[in-house]
Assembly symmetry: C2
Homo-oligomer: 371 residues x 2
């Protein structure tokens, strides 16, 4: 029995987006094992945590995981109870739009009016209780089939690494008094510092969390309206779903798609988007090494340490050792501050927190020389 | 045939002091393999380099190496042609005075008026030609049996890590016009910064290199005068030299000795000390990680790198990997300056150059927790 029936909700499904490469957490996150498959925060991998977090709302039977072919094995290992038919394999990365379209097709066949929670597999959310309340509230709105709901994170600082959502001041009557949803006035791609600062001082701006709630028919309708090329491709795939040609057709269609995010393809264009501000749920996309301090416990000296470590006069650093290194090897620091030190088998990374955003450049340099 | 006979010099011998632990180069230098046994600079270990450097003046047959028992094996491995009877084993560390006394006893038996070059095994000297000329000049002075000669390094900066020698202005007539020896007015133990700065501005000060040249009978006479307890011990040892009890007696005598340097025990007190300023011979005791840049090649960004490394915006760092790590592991840096990064199997050390002097404290911390 589905627990949402109690509140007269439509059935809810989860689409876990596990296709990323987590490049800015290199060298712990690698192409072979991106961050969503790592135990970065606790005893569970981020993928496991994402699934576990929503367990009160969505069973594994109703959970879909989108992943690239090379990581299918990791998904099945880490979620052994997940029905293997719920693993949606992307033949290649083409942004979130084709991947969401493909998953929506699948869901359509199963439950035409089902509500989907679209959730990245690599986010940290500390206040799970509040998060689940938000998802329920969003599902109540989405189940009417009219709106696409996106979760908006109240910005903690003028970060330039996120897209911003400008909410209209007028609240949209929602089914709950605890949370308020707003019509979206405008999406803004990652702004520069000055613009971000202006957003914060103006108010009514939220970080685009990349978490969406909608009915599968609703998002497909919007894809039809705003991304006709993708929609046509999806309709071709639909003809072959469940046939032996399915994966071949998907690959063919994918190859021809532009790489495009659902934000850019639909959310920025559709008038049907609502933003549901989350309040403080302790959210982080763990987007780079320097933000780890936001989600992990710091010691009295402001250090985030996941390593066998001893230090003297060591402040506000992030020091992380690959699992399995600890026990055999010590990281010892003296007089250093605001550094990121990552100790893996293949790579020792030392950088300033300030430069954490640029680690991809270093990763490319590594690939050039070590590859 | 001894090549010094050409210049009417007495026979020359070398006493290589290889008993140290090189703690300030931890974690590359360890108790098991201190820095003198490492290939820190080139293809030879520092001990091998020390012996090789003086080969034109002293044969291996005339070279003695003082070492603690646990490192005898390393000496024999690294100097396979050294006669094993030339290895002088210290039962325990008691500073340089007992060890020099012991070696002088041995030399006395062989060549009562032989000239000894007392040389630490862990110094770098870039201008070997000039260094050999200096040793020859010093030997010419020392062979008369009147003076103890010490090499004085012209201070490059007000370092607080060295002892200082104040020379008297008046030159002592030496046997050479190229180098001038001076009577010593005063030895000063490691001064504070202010004092060191004053020394530099006053002039006539030299760093105490710890390299000495004297006749074995001369230094024994001075030990008799200024360190009577040690002298008595040495006389007891002398009675048992070459007997089966030799090592036992040495151990017994050593145990009762104060730990004391020859500088403090003799050089600071004797009126017979001359300092021979070296001029620029590219000397370094490689006393800690931050001075490596003085003796190793720096890249265009001021980095000293002995590692498989790639960096972006990386300036004036010392980055060293344990031999054998390179090839399997990369050190990658981004935006860091003035750091010391040492990557060994057991320890990853990251510290500021500024704090390089304090690494012993960190080493103790490591011993506490990893031991």
């Amino acid at each position: 029995m589905h627990n949402c029936e109690k509140t007269n909700m439509k059935r809810t499904y989860a689409l876990i987006m596990a296709g990323g490469y987590g490049e800015r957490l290199w060298p712990l996150s690698t192409k072979e094992r991106p961050k969503q498959f790592l135990k970065l925060i606790g005893e569970r991998t981020m993928l496991q945590e994402t699934v576990h977090r929503i367990a009160p709302l969505v069973s594994l039977e109703s959970t879909y995981v989108v992943v690239s072919r090379e990581h299918v094995k990791l998904v099945l290992e880490q979620l052994p109870v997940l029905p293997s038919k719920n693993v949606i394999i992307e033949p290649m990365g083409r942004g979130t739009a084709p991947c969401i379209g493909l998953a929506s097709l699948r869901l359509q066949q199963r439950d035409p009016e089902g509500v989907m929670f679209v959730l990245p597999a690599d986010h940290v959310i500390k206040d799970v209780e509040r998060f689940l309340k938000l998802l329920r509230a969003a599902a109540m709105i989405a189940q009417q089939g009219t709106h696409l709901v996106t979760l908006g994170i109240p910005p903690r600082n003028p970060a330039t690494g996120y897209g911003y959502i400008r909410a209209e001041a007028r609240q949209v009557g929602g089914p709950t008094d605890v949370f308020s949803a707003f019509k979206v006035k405008r999406f803004t791609e990652k702004p520069d510092r000055e613009t971000a600062e202006r957003f914060l001082s103006e108010g009514d701006y939220y970080w685009n969390s990349g978490m969406f709630i909608w009915r599968s028919d609703a998002i497909l309708r919007e894809i039809e309206t705003h991304m006709s090329a993708l929609y046509e491709g999806l309709m071709q795939i639909k003809l072959h779903l469940g046939t032996p040609h399915e994966q071949d057709v998907i690959e063919e269609i994918y190859r021809d798609q532009e790489s495009i995010s659902i934000d850019y393809g639909v959310m920025e264009k559709s008038p049907r988007v609502l933003v549901l501000p989350t309040g403080d749920i302790g959210w982080s996309d763990v987007g780079n090494w320097s933000v780890l301090a936001d989600v992990l416990k710091t010691d009295v000296d402001g250090n985030v340490i996941q390593a066998q470590h001893q230090g003297i006069d060591t402040y506000n650093n992030v020091i992380v050792q690959e699992l399995g290194k600890a026990g055999t090897r010590w990281v010892m620091t003296l007089g250093v501050s605001d550094l990121v030190i990552v100790d893996t088998t293949d790579v020792l990374l030392v950088m300033t927190k300030e430069r954490a955003q640029d680690v991809k450049e270093l990763m490319r340099r590594y690939a050039e020389h070590a590859g």
